[in-house]
């Protein structure tokens, strides 16, 4: 009955349908495997290129015009300064904002505007944050091309990430804890400080660590701020110039010589190891404390 067959949505043509099924399943499996292979290949190629240059001297030397003498001492120091300061500012303001929005704010026009701007900021390209930092911190506040200006810019960049993660963590704290505290006469802030916030710490920490991993890998905003690519000193204060690991990697990658590419690969290994530690810490915290809620 060809007529009836044509009218049904799923045709009875078994052979062809079985073949189609197999092609479809294979295609999506191949897509997934391909993505995994790209990841493996990326890491393998960087390791192969950079392992030869990775040495104690590489970690403890300043950059140099001569590839054989160049190292990442100033880049590591700069990244550490940047990371520590960014951690301080972004946690202080990011968690503060999350607590306000999730626990204390009334649903009024003000909190709507704040939510809208957070959603907007989460999609702004990082290089635009660099322009903001250049205009506000470097010029208007006259901080110059300093590590402080870099850290403040990075803090603004990762704040949406921290706010969104912290709010999720606060949201998952059960209401019974708040009710119990209120019932004993605690004020809203006391409830948050002594009961809700401690319960949300694992979730917040996970978000903060992932945000820091992002900040440590960002180069675009720092280029705008004028982070120098050749820095033969270690920052000793908030207002010193600096370079950072991604900037140094960019600089070496952009040169045509093979020797500098190997240095870049070695720098990438150091950066990836750091990010790996961050991600492992986040996964560890999530698996150890995450399940309790």
């Amino acid at each position: 009955m060809p007529d009836r067959e044509n009218r049904s949505v799923f045709k009875v043509n078994t052979e062809r349908r079985r073949l189609k099924e197999r092609i479809f399943t294979t295609t999506i499996l191949v897509a997934t495997i391909m993505a995994l292979l790209v990841l493996v290949y990326l890491i393998a190629s960087v390791t192969r290129d950079g392992a030869g240059s990775l040495s104690w001297d590489f970690l403890t030397s300043f950059p140099s015009r001569f590839a054989s003498k160049a190292g990442i001492k100033s880049a590591i120091a700069g990244s550490m300064w940047l990371g520590a300061l960014t951690l301080f500012f972004s946690v202080l303001f990011g968690v503060g904002a999350a607590v306000y929005l999730q626990e204390l704010a009334n649903k009024n026009r003000m909190s709507q505007v704040i939510e809208l701007s957070i959603a907007t900021l989460a999609g702004v390209p990082s290089i635009i944050y660099g322009m903001l930092g250049l205009g506000v911190f470097v010029r208007f506040m006259a901080l110059g091309r300093s590590v402080l200006a870099g850290a403040l810019t990075m803090s603004l960049l990762v704040m949406p990430v921290i706010i969104i993660a912290s709010r999720e963590a606060l949201k998952s704290v059960p209401d019974s804890i708040r009710m119990a505290a209120f019932a004993l006469g605690a004020t809203r802030w006391q409830t948050v400080r002594d009961h809700v916030l401690p319960a949300a710490v694992p979730g917040i920490a996970t978000g903060v660590i992932l945000a820091m991993a992002r900040a440590m890998g960002e180069a675009a905003p720092l280029i705008l701020l004028g982070a120098l690519t050749y820095v033969a000193f270690v920052p000793s204060g908030l207002f010193d110039g600096f370079t950072a690991l991604p900037i140094q990697i960019y600089n070496w990658t952009s040169r045509p010589q093979q020797a500098f590419h190997e240095l870049a690969a070695a720098g990438i290994i150091v950066l990836l190891i750091f990010l790996l530690i961050c991600n492992s810490a986040a996964i560890f915290i999530r698996s150890k404390w995450g399940a309790k809620k």
Binding site: L42, Y100, S111, I114, M131, V136, I163, G185, G217, Y250
Partner: protein, 303 residues
Amino acid sequence: MTSRPWAKVSNFQKFREKLVVKALLVCASISILTTLGIIFILMEESVQFFSHISLFEFFGSTEWAPLFEPRSFGVLPLISGTMLIAFGALIFALPIGLGIAIYTSQYAQGWWQKILKPVLEILAGIPSVVYGYFAITQITPLLQALFDDVEVFNAASASIVIAIMVLPTIASICDDSLRAVPKTVKDGAYALGARKSEVIISIVVPSALSGILASFILAFSRAIGETMAVTLAAGGTPNMTLNPFEGVQAMTAYIAQVSLGDVAHGSLEYQSIFAVGLVLFLMTLAMNLLSQFIVKRYARKYE
């Protein structure tokens, strides 16, 4: 408070309470200030730029030569460079990302499914400068071996690494929205005799279309705003072309190029990066608003 939780709230406590709430409100307000700050900074310098260069020249001229005489400020080559790279990236990333999402949400099971998502998300966590390195040292030589006339800096190489970067974004959001399609809807199709692939293609994917579309737009917005990989792989020559094997300059790459050089504050070159930045900001903003709108407006609600 700890020893006598029932104690009456003192005036000092009330004052402190108000103070803390105000301080936290200030923290939350920073995001408003940041948004306004971005708009203000971009506008301020752009206004000065457009007092020298007319909007007509900016959007009408097809030559971008801001640093050399005779100067010309037509932004179209930069926009076309950005678009060439972004669309190229999406051609790879959309089908593969959706395919991965279908696999992780409908086929993968047990421990394999549990580790697949986090492992793929590692791709999103790798810094873009690393992708730039990967493009220059691996992808470009590969392209040069496969095709003729591939320049050292080319758009295709940038497209491929950006596709890799945005894959997890697409896969993750699509995975979520594919999972949200309830089992009852699928069971209905199975009851009619459909095979698994037929259920997915004609029932699951169409039902999750709003989320899938939103992920595509978000990925596009990220591809436009990408800086380091684009700067390293696609080069710094403004070039209005559709040939992916030629070098192009993206908007972000121009901003980075000028910032790396020694450009005096207040000069026309300096102002030009803010004008380009404004165009970039408005484009990504429009994309993000559009994706939020699609999710809100077209998301199917299942009871």
